[in-house]
């Protein structure tokens, strides 16, 4: 168990190092940073000045090592657009994105697994087919489109919820719903197939032979086993949500990390872009590690092996 976790930890660190390198290289590949920062009306002197000021005149490997070294100490440099430390910008925005992700995950967990259980219990009936159809539609629907529809219906027509901004918890409801749609279908399908396997298993027959209640058979004995992969996928889905919130934060003007990424990409604010990519990737790696850990906690066969 300890060795298993240690191995996972080493893999996670390697992934993090790779992500750092790739995010660094991608920003350099997108063209001459000094020219794009200087803008279309800049003179050659302006560009040279900026190049020196941001250290872009140094060899690539020197820039890379310099950035890596600083990033390891939590120093991501300064945003030339926001005129602020990148670490401040991220620390300011991250809680918004994490809140949004947790709201989205909460909604997804409240909807996906219960629907999956219902579909499995009513396997091959119209209920099952209806649930699967809803999942298919949810998966196929573009999130920006769903976001706009919700804004029109819940925000404009019914006036129940604010349509944009970050002020109160109500601002998180609509984006949370939209975000949850990306996770509901997979959580539902995974629960359904896990439950179908579990319900056909010998230990469920034993639970029935023991005369246990229907609820105990379905939830305590069935879902407990079907939930193991669902929980680890949910952790990974949260990572997807945090990374994928860029579209939704933009649509709803939620000032989170995704919105920050969108702004800085459009301004070619490379220190911010690099840092955002790195932070989101690290969160994702951390959540994958958490998924492995949860698996081990939930499955006694892994725990004691």
């Amino acid at each position: 168990m300890a060795r298993f976790l240690l191995r996972r930890l080493v893999v996670a660190l390697l992934v993090a190092a790779t992500v750092m390198t790739v995010s660094f290289l991608l920003t350099r590949l997108s063209g001459d940073l000094a020219i794009s920062i200087a803008g279309p009306n800049a003179t050659q002197e302006d560009v040279d000045l900026i190049r020196r000021a941001y250290g872009l005149d140094r060899p690539l490997w020197v820039q890379y090592l310099d950035w890596m070294g600083r990033a390891l100490t939590g120093d991501f440099g300064e945003s030339y657009f926001f005129k602020d430390r990148v670490s401040n910008l991220i620390a300011e925005r991250l809680p918004v994105t994490v809140s949004l992700g947790l709201v989205g995950l909460g909604i997804a967990l409240a909807v996906g697994p219960p629907l999956g259980i219902v579909a499995a219990v009513r396997e091959n009936t119209w209920v099952d087919r209806a649930v699967m159809l809803v999942a298919l539609i949810g998966q196929a629907m573009p999130s920006f489109w769903l976001g706009l529809i919700l804004m029109i219906v819940l925000g404009l027509n019914l006036g129940w919820l604010p349509i944009s901004g970050t002020g109160s918890w109500e601002h998180y409801v609509m984006p949370g719903i939209v975000l949850s749609f990306s996770a509901i279908p997979s959580l539902m399908r995974l629960t359904r197939s896990g439950m179908i396997d579990a319900l056909a298993s010998d230990y469920i027959r034993t639970a029935r032979a023991k005369g246990l209640s229907r609820l105990s058979i379905l939830v305590k004995h069935g879902f407990r086993n079907a939930a193991i992969p669902v929980v680890s996928i949910a952790a990974v889905q949260l990572g997807f949500m945090l990374g994928g919130s860029i579209v939704i934060e933009t649509v709803f003007a939620l000032h989170g990390v995704g919105f920050l990424a969108w702004e800085s990409i459009s301004k070619n604010d490379f220190p911010v872009v690099q840092a955002v990519v790195l932070v989101l990737a690290l969160i994702y790696v951390g959540l994958t590690l958490l998924a492995d850990l949860l698996n081990a906690v939930l499955d006694p066969r892994l725990r004691t092996a």
Binding site: D202, R205, S216, N225, P300, R301
Partner: protein, 328 residues
């Protein structure tokens, strides 16, 4: 002996397939009753039908299906679940997969008592589990309660299943091939255990098996099943001494009996395989494999008495076999 479980004219269908066709069976209080037959003859389905554990889509009908005088036919799912695990319990062929991998032995055992005896405290349930684990021959029972199924061997898991089935002191234990998946030495231990429990607790056991050696060792009474019907039922001694149904005789000729079968004598075999019975089939299902088949075998087959509590289902007269020894 009073009847504990009475089954008469039991039919189970899975769509177009008739798995059990009019099976009848009586298990008396405190007896070990063996139900024998080849794979696919409907033994397990009969047991599951009695317990109300048939898969969805299976259709059950019976002329009589009673437990301790109570008609089980129209009992609701909820009422059946109150009986199961309490007054009638069942263990299965697959000890490796019949326990839930996610819960400890203790949790899985105590939940039975806490379900059926709502007044029982947690401590009482734990005490009962420890007592029963000891009773089924498991060492350090207190420590086992905290273990998970994957930490136990197949033989230990089957002992746990047995102990779990006994939590509420059931009157009937149905054991569906409980030793088939186990090593031969472990098989013998489990059988001895079941026989001891039966004796000490006055438990009735319906033991499903295809192994006639097991039958000879533990059964008080035997019912032989073929193609969804019980074709012969008798006290064990009477059945082994004077089997009447040609199928029973065929089965017995397939096993070597020390002192009865000579060293150089070839063992018997029954030609053909168990047929798939089409809907609307009439007459004896064994007739295509039977050396004594006659024209009458296509019509209604009479139930004949061959002695006290010895019945068989055949067109042949009860004394037909007197001239013919088994394994001839």
């Amino acid at each position: 002996m009073s009847a504990l479980l009475e089954v008469a004219g039991l039919h189970v269908r899975f769509g177009e397939v008739a798995a059990v066709r009019g099976a009848s069976l009586v298990v008396a209080r405190g007896e070990t009753h063996c139900l024998v037959g080849e794979s696919g003859c409907g033994k397990s389905v009969t047991a599951l039908a009695v317990m109300g554990l048939l898969a969805r889509g299976a259709r059950r009908a019976a002329e009589r299906l009673a437990f301790a005088g109570q008609d089980l036919r129209d009992l609701s799912d909820r009422a059946m679940s109150r009986l199961r695990g309490d007054r009638m319990a069942m263990i299965f062929q697959e000890p490796m997969t019949s326990l839930n991998p996610s819960y400890t032995i203790g949790s899985q055992m105590t939940e039975v008592l806490r379900r059926h005896r709502p007044g029982a405290t947690r401590a009482q349930a734990v005490d009962r589990a420890v007592e029963l684990l000891g009773r089924v021959g498991i060492t350090a029972p207190g420590m086992r309660l905290g273990q998970y199924p994957h930490q136990l061997s197949g033989g230990l898991r089957q002992r746990v299943m047995i102990a779990m089935a006994l939590m509420c002191e059931p009157e009937l234990l149905i054991a569906d091939e409980p030793t088939t998946a186990l090593d031969v030495t472990v098989q013998a231990q489990i059988l001895r255990l079941l026989a001891g429990l039966q004796r000490d607790l006055g438990l009735a056991i319906l033991l499903i098996t295809h192994d006639l050696g097991i039958v000879a060792r533990v059964a008080h009474r035997v019912s032989v099943m073929y193609a969804g019907e019980v074709v012969e039922s008798a006290p064990t001694a009477a059945l082994f001494a004077a089997p009447r149904h040609p199928y029973t005789r065929g089965l017995l000729s397939c096993v070597p009996v020390p002192g009865k079968v000579r060293r150089d004598q070839p063992l018997g075999s029954i030609p053909g395989v168990v047929p798939r019975i089409p809907p609307g089939f009439a007459g004896c299902a064994f007739r295509d494999r039977c050396a004594h088949a006659r024209a009458e075998c296509s019509g209604d087959v009479p139930r004949r008495a061959a002695g006290p509590e010895h019945e068989f289902l055949c067109t042949l007269a009860p004394d037909w076999a007197r001239a013919e020894p088994v394994a001839a």
